[in-house]
């Protein structure tokens, strides 16, 4: 076989991730966590980890199990490991959230949940890294997009390691002074490595390839792309090694963070320039909804970069860190994720249902599985709500922020209904929906039919 096949468990990852997003948006609407509670409150930390692990990381892993084989034109190392990986990550996330809720006094459990969370999440991320790492290792030398993903995976390894140290400290397991120092000062390194290193850098790598594929644009491998890769890798290396070094040697952590952020912002600027080039050089004049909405996500990334620079120049960046994290997580990462999911679910469902009858019977197109005119308003509501929510956070308007979160929740539910309709082929015209040999697919599991 040349290249990739259908990832069996990715749909399960997507479903769990979307459920986590809906719950998180529901909690934000209800006023749980920041900005109603302080940014370091246990309630906020529970919410942040529900979004970072439950939504974004599970979605990213589900997508990587399908698309790393596409990036490197080789099959995934193991097709069955994603299931135990998902089970471990879900159990670990549940324990972590329970630990934060214990701290907040919301629930009462006799023993701390943090040690269990660290073991389960550590095991889950290790399995994911092993599976994806072996796939990438076997495909050397790697194309540039796959190198981005590789560095992103190093980012999750570092983020998870720091998270385990924090969790074991909160659980009262660690007493080593060096590790306690990391636990007390390393939160910015953990947060930036997760959001910037793992999620953003990986999303960049995947988008280089997917957007080129979907828009029929030339794949980028030039100086600008390689410079973006080098700057991003340098930023992540400096952040993690320099950050931990500064903590241990009592150095200036702020200086390290500023230096890493400068490199990271330069990387983001080059990436943005590449994406503009990709859109301009595309061969398809009329692009599909996923590519148009990815443009909104890219605009959010640019807004986050510009906002960071303006707030830093005004000297108020630390006060508005929540707003920057919000537009990065929801405008850029979640926006791109929802846009890509819209296409990925249709594409994977098409492969599963109609791939086996190709050449035997007429088949619909992937585009026939979606109804863009219905989904577009939901995307619009989502992005407007995110951008308004960012403004609300900058202006310290907690009530307005909750209204925006409610609109995001509504839009997400609207999009999820579209995803389910796509999955069940409900948008395909009836005469073409079930040609002989085609069955209604399962919601959570992709099956390859015997030919």
């Amino acid at each position: 076989m040349v290249g990739a096949s259908l990832s069996r468990w990715s749909m399960s990852y997507f479903a769990v991730a979307l459920l986590a997003l809906i719950v998180a948006e529901g909690l934000m609407t209800a006023g749980f966590g920041f900005p109603v509670a302080p940014i370091h409150a246990p309630e906020t930390l529970a919410l942040v980890h529900l979004i970072a692990i439950g939504w974004l990381s599970l979605l990213m892993l589900g997508a990587l199990f399908q698309f790393v084989p596409v990036l490197v034109a080789r099959p995934l190392y193991s097709d069955w490991l994603p299931l135990p990986t998902l089970a471990l990550l879900l159990a670990g996330l549940t324990a972590l959230l329970a630990g934060f809720l214990q701290l907040a006094g919301v629930i009462s459990v006799p023993h701390s949940c943090f040690p269990a969370a660290s073991i389960l999440l550590g095991a889950g991320f290790s399995l994911a890294l092993w599976n994806l790492g072996r796939t990438l290792w076997a495909a050397r030398p790697l194309p540039v997009p796959a190198r981005f993903v590789t560095v992103g995976l190093a980012g999750i390894a570092a983020t998870a390691l720091l998270g385990i140290i924090f969790a074991l400290t909160l659980g009262g397991v660690i007493s080593n002074p060096a590790l306690l120092a990391i636990a007390s000062q390393g939160v910015p390194v953990h947060a930036i490595a997760g959001l910037g290193g793992w999620l953003t850098f990986t999303a960049m790598g995947v988008s280089y390839r997917l957007l080129a594929m979907f828009m029929l644009a030339p794949e980028l491998d030039g100086t600008s792309t390689r410079a973006a890769f080098c700057l991003g890798t340098a930023a992540l290396t400096l952040l993690i090694l320099g950050g931990v070094g500064a903590i241990w040697m009592d150095g200036n952590l702020d200086f390290v963070l500023i230096a890493a952020a400068t490199l990271g912002l330069a990387c983001a600027a080059l990436y943005w320039k590449d994406m503009i080039h990709l859109y301009r050089a595309r061969k398809r004049r009329v692009i599909e909804l996923n590519s148009r909405m990815a443009g909104f996500a890219l605009a959010s990334l640019a807004s986050a970069v510009v906002l960071t620079l303006i707030l830093a120049l005004l000297g108020v960046l630390p006060r508005h860190g929540g707003a920057i994290a919000f537009i990065t997580a929801f405008g850029w990462l979640s926006g791109l994720a929802l846009a890509m999911l819209y296409k990925i679910i249709a594409f994977m469902t098409w492969l599963e249902c109609y791939g086996p009858v190709l050449g035997k019977r007429p088949t619909p197109r992937v585009q026939d599985l979606v109804t863009e005119r219905v989904a577009f308003p939901w995307f619009l509501v989502y992005f407007i709500a995110v951008w308004s929510g960012t403004v609300a956070l900058l202006c310290d308007q907690a009530t307005l922020f909750r209204v925006c979160a409610g609109a995001m929740l509504l839009a997400t539910v609207g999009l999820c209904i579209q995803f389910v309709r796509t999955r069940f082929l409900d948008n395909v015209p009836v005469p073409a929906r079930f040609p002989e040999g085609v069955r209604r697919p399962r919601l959570l599991l992709s099956l390859t039919q015997p030919r």
Binding site: A4, V72, K283, K360
Partner: protein, 111 residues
């Protein structure tokens, strides 16, 4: 079989391959330029050389097997050999004018 008869059979195979679409582009693989060669050898053996729009595409195996099944449906074809190649790599320039028009491709279609 005569050369003319083989050519006619090859044309029938090409026509049958139009049933196979690239799922992403939504157009048949012949007019997209994904079929590089169709030849008929004695004994009704169809040799097809094809590519995909991108290396590593998850639809690769389905497209390959779809081409095999499509060719097999032609009367007189007894055996089908489908070879996949990425030399030369596919570009939009390889599409027919109809396919370019359908997809709204700008200019000549080269990268």
């Amino acid at each position: 079989m005569t050369v003319e008869a083989n050519d006619a059979l090859a044309e029938q195979v090409r026509e049958a391959l139009r049933l196979v679409i690239d799922p992403e582009l939504g157009y048949n693989i012949v007019d997209l330029g994904l079929i590089y060669f169709v030849g008929i050898a004695d004994g009704g053996v169809a040799n097809i050389v094809m590519t995909t729009t991108t290396k590593g595409c998850p639809a690769t195996n389905y497209l390959k097997e779809g081409a095999r099944d499509g060719a097999w449906s032609v009367s007189g074809i007894e055996f089908v050999d489908v070879a996949l190649t990425y030399e030369p790599p596919w570009t939009p320039e390889m599409m027919t004018d109809e396919a370019k028009e359908h997809l709204g491709i700008r200019g000549g279609g080269g990268w």
